[in-house]
Subunit: 491 residues, 4 copies
């Protein structure tokens, strides 16, 4: 894996890159009022002193500010990206060098991430963020790994759980014929780990106080772990804070979907027929963005409630099959699998665009598409490929079917990440400082903290908040300072 | 109260009115696919056979179809409106006469409601729907009142609770100086009831299996009753079904707010500056409707999360005080009290319009406004009043500060009421047929029923629902037929 | 025609009606800042002193304010409506009684219009407004008719042209088998006129200085007259002032289309599939309004430029035939003929709604529909008819296929009519006071007047206009005070 | 100027660059159905055979397809960009190499343009496209320059007019103290030309049959030339084709404004307060795009008609001064000068963004900003500069105040450029093949050609056009095949 290390070292050595990243961080800090407010509120008290946080989340400029906020609150941090394409190298470099460091004397945080990792490299990076031996040595303490995880999609959490499971079993199972390429890479990594240190992940799991998880997909995995009785430590579901799911998922994608389409293809969205699979928060933001650009949007849904919302919002709701031949741009936003299948490609218009914003790359069945007889893949530019089909037409697939808003653009913008990451910081503080209040299970942040996150973002947008009078608070039976809604309120 | 009875009798006697109502019912049935589907599904099984339902809900054409659906499923029903202005007299007449009745031989359901009741008349009507003596006599049974309540705003439920409370106390408290006019009417009624039959409401309360409540306000009252340990029977919170709160509240008001403004004032909404107090579901629908007509919308909020939603949706968020002098149309949608106060009126533009869609008439402080020195009230037409202010300007207040979408228009349209009322019917069936599954408390309908309501409304809107494959259902860990979401999902 | 006169006399006698109209006029004056500003600017100078204006335009509250503005500027006026359904009786009554008159001693302006005229009554009214004998007698002068026409749709202008044509020919042609019912009524009227006074319309035509025409349809007729060399006096095309066509046509219909749909049917627009035939200004406003209510809108067009605009604005563009079975609400906005034909009705969904906003009633082929074998027409309420089709389904046709925004609602709101009518007033002043500047032909108002009309409406909407600096004016080569655009600028 | 030539030569030598450009051209051809349809229709007839076209227009991928379309129709072409930042180098390289050429044996069209020219380089390039000596030599003919100009902004036209003017005067005037830097560069160039060949531009002017001009600004210059009697050859105003001004200006900017903002700053647009100066077509598209992303938009206008449109479209209309302190993003779209002045910067929020989409760089007064005492300019990345102000705040100015949709993004997308460029091609054919029909002056394309351009773009967007029947055509008095509207129709 020497190539990888070299690539990373090279980046660290590149002060120009780090400087460019530092400029971007400085500008983005103005767009992340939530994180900056938390620094102002908590940096004296150092609530995360003693926290060793292993973070697996897209290594962007915004994440750089999250990392530096965690550090400002007292934490030690090691970081990897949670997606092979999403790293902004200048942000990674800037975090490693640190605000006051130099190439020769970096003073920042270890980051293991670069744009365009292979799967092997990706899992090597994920493995690295669990290796806290140098920190243990420096501290003269006896720990193996982190005591906190900050996760996005659950890969870091998965690695600990699987690692411990196989250590207890005493062996890693053989790779099966149906296993995905990625799972075979994980198994290989864990085989090496088991051989090298047969109790490593068991020790690591024992040290961890909890995980805070960013996304729907990762949260879903956590609920599954817990349902099966396999969850090893408490989790906070950051995704379902209102100020996360209803902001990052909806307003973030509203921004980054058209941004990614534009950077990838420069195709006019206006006047086009766009198909959005899924009308959850991500689908809602997608449809809104496309309509805002003058597209005609058709939505598909499996949930009758969301389908009814879509039609009441003015969208045609149809199955993919019934409209496929009229669609110019396909957007998958379901979090499910096999939404766009190989046979679909053959029915599409020439140069139809396929864009996945729904987390994993099996939403568009890339494996199946690769197996189409006679298909040819041409790189137009990085993350933009033309797939020539045997029928003489071609389609454009963005970011190899992975998250195109990260691969073709720069992900959610700073402001929405500030709402999302302020939740992460508060969740880390909760789990780390009040372990007794969070028993084994998957928790949602208290509504007061959710409202606090919102409050931290208002003045930057010029919002004047109305104050409840005592009479009014009494009339609706809530405290003057909130929380203002019942827990099941849907916003 | 002879005047009242006469008025009502006169209406019943008016076959022309009933015929007009019957026409409207027939047309509206096509717009209420949920209720009609429930009739088709359940009329053979008669799940509500034996149910005696006391209903207090705006007596509109849509409610007529709800009532006749309940009857089609086996129930006996007595009905009043829950608002003094909201009754459509032709709908009331048609329900009384019944689909196959005549004026001389009515075969319908007893209704106690007409447009423009006084407060005394209103509570007399509410009292009437608890008097099931004629039904008891006809059945040769020994009951006093209903065994089910279907409520909107909680007035029927309140009457039983207060009635029983005072019966147990042995006396009705004296009317206090601070008591509202309405509360003094209630106390007066209960004094008469106590005198006439000192255990009447105690017996009624004991017969009731449960209540299904329609609105935020009524649900809030129920939670308060339950918190104080005073709730007398289980309740289903219909308001918080997704297919109710996210449809009726949002899409209903989107329709009926501009409709009411137009019918009341014929004022161009486009180009105007509109102020919407509150950005809950009703406020969201209001803002959307006004923007859809080309207005500039300013929103006020006390909840930082909703405030952040408003600004992310592109609205200016400000306090009433800071923008009051620039606003043409004021809409209150908070469910709170004293949003628009007398002193505000004096700062408003000439002929500014005040429209309350937030449930009670204290959202606009009508009592206070009436007390402004030198104010003059001129009726432009029914439910539209010009209030001439001492400063020489005037403002228009719609529906006397009560729900203008009901008072100045015809309320939510049939289609959204179909989603809301299908929840009511299913909730009535649940509480009546499965009493053991609903302990004392406030319950939300199971998500499967919520999804069922949505499903019943799709084909009428031309929606093609996508079917999950088995693989996909397994992938996201849900049954192929749903429910598709975790309970805390916010839609 | 005694019935007619009686009906009208009754209305005039009804002071309650006139008082109600006066209230509405007073409120609407606040919404017509353009007309009120013209009164303030010109009432001292009396530029229309000596003008005898025959007006044919929907007799609404807004028109009442137009009439009273013309009078305030010195004119004498006689008025009829230009549509059999569009009169608001209270407005007509108020104009007749006048601001300071009484029933016994009316001091207003003669109006010949009421809601729900027959075709015979309609043309009788139109004939009346050309009879200025009482005014001539009162003035001791020798004129037959008006010296100015203010027209909407061109019926008044048509009557003069046809009347004179037949007088010159010496006879009125026999009614042909293909002549419409309406044309046969006109011929009948002119036969009577010719018999009674064989040079009446020839004398009237000779007295007229010019006509100002309100609508696309009427303007089209004028251009046709002029192209054939038949135009008898100069015309100002008010319709094509930007502040008319781009405001009244677009923003007026955005208001009054959903208003009419709501008042007629109370049907939820949200979630429905709506078809808008024609994407001119009226179609653009219609589509915008329907989308603003959450409908899915499909547009049809014959002009490729307008079709391209529609698709770029995000609408599906399709032929009626290809989508007819999926549509809930049909809106015709073409100004053309036979858009919806009898055979179309048989393909429509049950209770589909048909709404014409495109001027004449042949846009929906009512004559053809009446001839469908076995069709049955049921009046749901005035101007709302259910047509039961032989296939068992029914459709709802609003306002008998005539302008439903006038027939089912109250037409364009005051504010947009203020822009439109301010153009009318300025056009009347131009033609009456500067006859030498307007040779025989069809003219558009100078851009300075168009901009003046806009300027008169800004402060009421809180607009702050930016002032050009001298440098900036020089830079773009326009006067600091305007006009700011080249004549062919499209806005 | 050897550096320039070298830079260009280098690019030509770079086959990788040309290949990348060729890929993009191939993909973009699918998005330019108008140009491809014109190739299909006219390539056999070769209507531009003999045309020598000097083109000055942003050298993008879309322009490459325009150039190759002109060549396909028989023309010879020389090309420069009309903006120092707007060239896409790979597109330039691909055009030079040609579809079938190689680096060693290029077979394309001479292009003089690269991204990031100095002013000297820019005007050197513009001079080069008038030097047709090698073509004359190759043809054995005796001409000096082009016989057609295709212009954008009028720089090529200006050079010929000024060159001839000074040749007739016999000298180039001295550079004045108030002359802009750019004008001094032009004067310098013309001094050298005059010295070298004192009749060069006079001969060139004599050979030119006409110019077709792309933009508002260039058209304005042409009308000014013509008004002063200085115009040297007929011009077609392509900008004012409906399918140009109402598409490129409006829908193009709707796409490229947010695209440029995103690429430049990655700042969330949603929730922000955006100020759009000017509500012409570009301003309308800008406001629409920003609202579509969830921004609150405030518009400024000097024209009362456009101001009234803005407020009727739901935007606050205010002066810059009254809202400057609340604005996050400033967009100038006026085509005028000195909209944002140095003193304004000092009132802006920290990190406010300034984006000009209004043609010239004096819309934001860059010269004045450069002179602010103590201001500091930091390059964040190419075309994105932070200007640190003496008050401790900073602002971001995009593309040095020039067109940011070109400098920070890739300009209008292919599809809208296809409508615009199809007009250019038809205009070139008109002027070149029918010189007798276009006398000296500024002409607009016949409406039939405008409609033709629209028609060529419909099927790509799935539009079904409705066909007029003969009866309908007769009814509205137009030919079945169009044109469908009067000339003054505004769309």
């Amino acid at each position: 894996m020497s190539k990888t290390i070299t690539a990373f070292d090279y980046k660290v050595a590149d002060l120009t890159l780090a400087e460019a990243g530092r400029h971007q961080i400085r500008l983005a800090e103005n767009e992340m009022p939530g994180l900056m407010a938390l620094r102002a509120e908590f940096s004296a008290a150092q609530p995360l002193k003693g926290a060793r946080i292993t973070g697996s989340l897209h290594m962007t400029v915004q994440t750089a500010i999250l990392i530096e906020t965690l550090v400002a609150l007292g934490a030690q941090v090691r970081w990897a990206s949670c997606n092979i394409f999403s790293t902004q190298d200048e942000a990674a470099a800037a975090v490693v060098v640190g605000p006051n460091g130099t190439v020769d004397n970096p003073s920042g945080t270890p980051v293991f991430a670069w744009k365009g990792e292979t799967l092997e490299e990706y899992w090597w990076c994920t493995d690295r963020i669990f290796d806290w031996s140098s920190e243990a040595a420096a501290a003269g303490e006896d720990f193996t790994g982190p005591n906190m995880i900050l996760d996005d999609g659950g890969d870091a959490t998965l690695l600990v759980h699987k690692g411990r499971e196989f250590e207890i079993a005493g062996s890693v199972p053989a790779t099966g014929a149906d296993d995905s390429e990625e799972y075979s890479v994980i198994l290989e990594l864990l085989r090496a780990s088991l051989k090298n240190d047969p109790t490593r992940f068991t020790r690591i799991a024992g040290e961890i106080k909890g995980v805070t998880e960013e996304t729907t997909t990762g949260v879903h995995r956590l609920y599954e772990f817990h349902k099966r009785g396999e969850l090893l430590f408490p989790a906070i579901n950051v995704n379902d804070s209102v100020t996360k799911s209803k902001f990052d998922n909806k307003y973030g994608i509203r921004h980054s979907l058209p941004d990614g389409l534009n950077r990838a293809t420069d195709t006019l969205i206006g006047g086009k027929t766009c198909f959005v699979a899924g009308y959850g928060d991500v689908g809602k933001g997608s449809a809104d963005a496309l309509r805002g650009q003058g597209a005609r949007v058709i939505v598909s849904e499996i949930d009758p409630i969301c389908a009814l919302q879509a039609v009441m919002d003015g969208y045609q709701v149809a199955t993919l099959e019934s409209v496929i031949e009229t669609v110019d741009i396909f957007v998958t936003a379901t979090g499910n699998t096999a939404i766009i299948k190989p046979e679909h490609l053959l029915q599409m218009k020439h140069q139809a665009i396929i864009a996945n914003v729904g987390h994993f790359d099996d939403e568009v069945d890339m494996a199946g598409i690769n197996r189409i007889q006679g298909i040819e893949k041409i790189e137009i530019k990085p993350q933009v490929h033309e797939w020539r089909l045997p029928n003489g037409r071609s389609v454009l697939i963005l970011s190899e079917g992975r998250l195109m808003n990260l691969g073709n653009a720069t992900g959610h913008p700073s402001f929405v990440m500030s709402t999302s990451f302020a939740n992460q910081v508060l969740a880390q503080i909760e789990l780390f400082t009040k372990p007794d209040e969070y028993e084994l299970g998957v928790h949602i942040l208290p509504k007061t903290l959710d409202e606090k996150v919102a409050r931290l973002h208002l003045s930057a947008l010029g919002v004047e908040l109305t104050q409840l009078t005592n009479d009014q608070a009494r009339y609706i039976g809530v405290p003057v300072q909130g929380p203002y809604k019942v827990d099941h309120y849907r916003y």
